[in-house]
């Protein structure tokens, strides 16, 4: 980490978004992660996505668990409320928050230890419930804060920093999310901002559970030769199935793409995600096909990236729960407390 504080002033000609805000308005406190950490790039991508989407920062809630990745919500959107909960339990806290007020945007940031090990159960159930949120896993295959133990997403062929072998197969969180029915599933690489930012923007416009597995190498404990989560390995083995561009609702679609290789999918807020299909025949609406493709490529040692699965027809938690339109936290005594006459009627029924 750097210990030189960020200057508070900024260049007067920094570009403004539609809210009249600069990118600096979406930043957070100074990162305390290692210099070069992939997670800082993910934070930067979230800042960029929120800036470009013109999101009012105070209408975003940042949720996290425990670990290096879960620290990062401090490093972006300082005008948003944040909740750094307990290890592996961010999904439940985010679910409760979402039930209380569905009108905020929820960005959950977790890690591979937080999600694929201690929080695996909560992750699965948040997916199953279609909690309306963006869930980002900053996946580096290692426990950073406790100095480099293997995590459950580390590949069997990967070797540790001191040459130790990993005996167990990796849990593929993107495949898991697709299998569990997440309605938006993508994978990206922290070093690929051009791919990551549009994916985050599309995920934030999606209504329902949007999952992005971001391979985010740990420069200190898992960036050596032999690690399958190193910058070098991922760059060499990344295989993009779909290139995603995000088109806001008000922008007209220009016809600068090759017919047949591009599909536009309208998201819930009428914005669109434009998918450049790089793999012939890859269909991101085909759940089983997506899983098959991920596994086939995995067998070849490749990491499949892009928007892997999208279902815009699935309903999200609040609809499934048949809740009233107004956020529950906006209801007061008048809306919530029956009167004494109603209570007396209950008393009578109990006599």
């Amino acid at each position: 980490m750097t210990y030189i504080a960020k200057p508070k002033f900024h260049h007067p000609k920094l570009p403004l978004n539609d809210l009249g805000l600069t990118r600096r308005d979406y930043e957070g406190a100074m990162s305390t992660l290692c210099a070069g950490c992939g997670h800082d790039s993910v934070s930067a991508a979230i800042v960029e996505a929120c800036f470009e989407l013109n999101l009012p920062a105070h209408r975003v809630a940042k949720m996290s668990g425990i670990g290096c990745s879960s620290k990062t919500p401090t490093y972006f959107l300082s005008k948003s409320h944040g909740f750094n909960s307990v290890h592996g339990r961010m999904p439940s806290v985010a679910t409760g928050a979402n039930l209380a007020n569905n009108s905020l945007k929820y960005i959950g940031v977790s890690g591979d230890g937080d999600t694929a090990s201690i929080g695996f159960g909560q992750f699965a159930h948040a997916v199953r419930r279609q909690v309306d949120m963006l869930y980002v896993v900053e996946n580096n295959g290692t426990y950073g804060l406790t100095k480099g133990q293997f995590s459950a997403t580390n590949d069997r062929v990967s070797v540790g920093r001191k040459g130790q072998k990993n005996a167990f197969d990796a849990i593929d969180l993107a495949a898991m999310a697709i299998q569990l029915g997440a309605s938006f599933v993508a994978r990206s690489f922290s070093g690929d901002k051009d791919q990551l930012v549009p994916l985050i923007k599309a995920a934030l416009s999606h209504k329902g559970f949007a999952f992005i597995d971001v391979i985010s190498p740990c420069v200190t404990f898992n960036n050596h030769i032999g690690s399958t989560k190193s910058f070098e390995f991922v760059r060499d083995h990344e295989h993009t199935v779909t290139g995603a561009d995000y088109v806001p609702h008000r922008e007209t679609i220009t016809a600068d793409y090759e017919e047949g290789s591009v599909i536009d999918v309208t998201l819930h807020d009428q914005s669109r995600v434009r998918l450049r299909k790089l793999d012939a025949g890859y269909d991101p609406s085909d759940q089983a096909g997506a899983l098959q493709h991920i596994m086939a490529r995995q067998a070849k040692g490749e990491v499949v990236t892009g928007l892997l699965y999208l279902d815009t027809g699935e309903t999200e938690l609040k609809e499934k729960m048949e809740m009233v339109a107004a956020p529950l936290n906006s209801l007061g005594v008048a809306e919530l407390r029956p009167d004494m006459a109603a209570l007396e009627k209950i008393n009578v029924g109990l006599r």
Binding site: S85, G96, N98, G121, L328, N329, P338, R351
Partner: protein
């Protein structure tokens, strides 16, 4: 003669349909204006194991469990021997005389009704033959105990309203048993029910039902829970009453959200997340769930988040006795979670208080910004109690505590989430999404300064910890005060009790008075303990602490929190999983004082 004062026990096979017939019997007596205390003693099983239903009938208001069974309805061959043995000398044994039974006791009276034979002759469907045996023995009891038959018949009509074709065969079964008893026995017996006005305006309801209803009236909108005996019916009651009272008429949509979580960790996580975001949310669980929720309780304590929990205590440790009652989670709840943590506990002693503490619990949790645990138990939660009707104060709103809105944030220079502005240890909070520029903060379980920023400065952390202590002291002044059994205290010895023990205390005091022993009594209603609690102990030479656990957990808590000499507090303990009886309390105190004790079964019929 025992009029409106007896205990009847039904011994049945779990899953044989006896529960609704037994409940009908108890409710009928309640409808006749006589206070009842029905208790379901059930196995952790769905079908096949022995189950019992005890009904204490008492118009003087002594409704605690009592030893000495005046009448046993023995319908289960598996438990026959012990059921027969349990009848008080001079008591009655009602049994199914279709089958020949050896009855080795000559000090009890037997009433054989050929229930199986009668039902097999009258009904053809095997299921009906089985179910109506239960209704038939209720019918026999109406004659034997001289109950108001119209009341019982009326209740059957009520029960099957909408399924009217079921009314006639049920009444038929009722009359089958009744007519047999009238024909072959000298009805009524010397134990009888006489119509009374002793119930007054009281209601008959389970504590869990009351707690769920209380949450509706407290404005709770989110419930997250995981099924566990004996707390499940809290969430179920909340759901039932929400469907009655919280559906938006124009749209049919719900002004509530109930999530059956994947486990207890998720249940409390959701409740905390919702409370953080300004919705009143709760969870209900039992001891094993509290163990699982402990990490989250520590987070809520340290990050200062309101959350309401209902702990319907059952027999521990570990899986323990899931269908039996205890008060054995006092210490684990008071200090749940690692590090220096303390939690506000409320101890309801009847369903009315379950309702009131749900309403008050949310106010306290939000006022104090900390978890509040309502410490009910299986006896209170899952049995129907004769209790005062529910009331709310319509002039009072919800106390949402110290929450700043956008206008208030505009007026202050710099918001500090954990600043003690008012000197009571309670800081101000903001809900997410309130203000575009001000009031955002990071909620965290890591050490933090007054502005919610992460800090590893030990002196800052110590300062925060001391303020939390100060806040806990403030809690002493706002939690429900203890209640005293006497208007003026003159005795040299005292007795402290809490929760469901309360129902047995007046009767126990009466028994002790017979031995010229007089105690001042105090019922604890909350932790932390207010000054009155300490004063009560210090103003008596010796104080008995009555609890339903092995280790005297409340006594330990009193010694620890009030810095008392342990010798002042004498533990009176019952932890066999059955609700504590007045006789147990009285006998243990008599033994401690070196006085003669009464036989436990002596409170039954033979005492007359």
């Amino acid at each position: 003669m025992r009029v409106n004062d007896f205990v009847i026990k039904f011994a049945n096979v779990n899953g044989s349909g006896s529960a609704s017939a037994n409940a009908l019997f108890a409710k009928a007596i309640f409808r006749m204006g006589v206070p009842v205390a029905p208790k379901n003693i059930f196995p952790s099983n769905i079908q096949g194991l022995p189950t019992w239903f005890e009904v204490r009938v008492n118009d003087k208001g002594y409704l605690g469990r009592r030893e000495g069974i005046d009448m046993m309805v023995a319908m289960n061959p598996q438990s026959w021997d012990r059921d027969v043995a349990e009848v008080a000398p001079g008591g009655y044994l009602l049994y199914d005389s279709t089958f020949i039974r050896e009855i080795e006791r000559d000090d009890i009276k037997t009433i054989g009704v050929p229930l199986t034979k009668l039902c097999n002759e009258r009904f053809t469907i095997p299921r009906e033959r089985q179910l109506f045996k239960n209704v038939a023995y209720v019918g026999a009891l109406t004659a034997l105990l001289d109950m108001d038959f119209e009341v019982v018949k009326g209740m059957l009509s009520e029960q099957f309203r909408g399924k009217d074709k079921l009314i006639a065969p049920n009444v038929d079964a009722l009359e089958l048993g009744r007519n047999y008893a009238l024909k072959y026995f000298d009805c009524p017996l010397d134990i009888q029910v006489v119509t009374s006005d002793a119930v007054g305006d009281r209601i008959l309801v389970e504590g869990n039902d009351a707690a769920g209803l209380g949450c509706v009236f407290a404005g709770a909108t989110v419930a997250a829970w995981y099924p566990i005996t004996p707390s499940t019916s809290v969430a179920e009651a909340f759901e039932k009453y929400c469907h009655q009272l919280r559906i938006e008429p124009e749209t049919g949509k719900k002004k509530f959200a109930i999530v059956q979580a994947e486990d207890e960790l998720a249940a409390i996580g959701m409740a905390i997340g919702a409370n953080w975001n300004g919705a009143r949310a709760f969870t209900a669980t039992s001891g094993p769930g509290i163990s699982l929720m402990s990490e989250f309780l520590g987070l809520a304590y340290f990050a200062e988040l309101p959350v309401l929990l209902f702990n319907i205590q059952r027999g521990g440790p570990s899986t323990g006795m899931p269908t039996r009652t205890q008060q054995s989670d006092i210490i684990s709840c008071a200090y749940a979670s690692h590090g220096d943590t303390k939690h506000v506990l409320l101890f309801p002693s009847d369903p009315t208080e379950c309702f009131d503490f749900a309403v008050r619990g949310f106010d306290l949790a939000e006022r104090l910004q900390t978890p509040v645990i309502v410490m009910s138990d299986l006896d209170l939660g899952m049995n129907e109690w004769t209790t005062k009707p529910f009331k709310i104060d319509e002039t009072m709103g919800f106390d949402r505590g110290k929450v700043l809105n956008a206008e208030q944030l505009d007026e202050i220079e710099r918001f500090g989430r954990y600043l003690d502005v008012d000197g009571d240890g309670i800081p101000y909070r903001t809900y997410p999404g309130t203000h575009p520029e001000k009031g955002a903060f990071f909620t965290r379980g890591t050490s933090h300064d007054e502005y919610a920023g992460y800090t590893e400065d030990g002196t800052v952390n110590a300062r925060v910890m001391l303020r939390l202590s100060h806040k806990f002291n403030t809690a002493k002044t706002v939690v429900p005060a203890p209640e005293f059994g006497q208007k003026t205290q003159g005795a040299t010895m005292g007795l402290i009790h809490f929760g469901t023990t309360a129902v047995s205390v007046p009767e126990a005091m009466g028994m002790l008075a017979d031995s010229q022993i007089h105690l001042d009594t105090m019922r604890l209603r909350a932790f932390p303990f207010s000054q009155e609690v300490e004063d009560f102990i210090l103003s008596h030479d010796k104080v008995f602490v009555v609890e339903q656990n092995r280790d005297g957990q409340m006594r330990s808590l009193l010694v620890n929190e009030c810095g008392l000499d342990p010798a002042r507090l004498v533990p009176i303990l019952n932890f066999d999983g059955s609700p504590i009886t007045a006789r147990t309390i009285a006998n243990m105190i008599l033994e401690h004082l070196g006085q003669a004790v009464e036989d436990r079964s002596a409170d039954g019929v033979a005492a007359e």
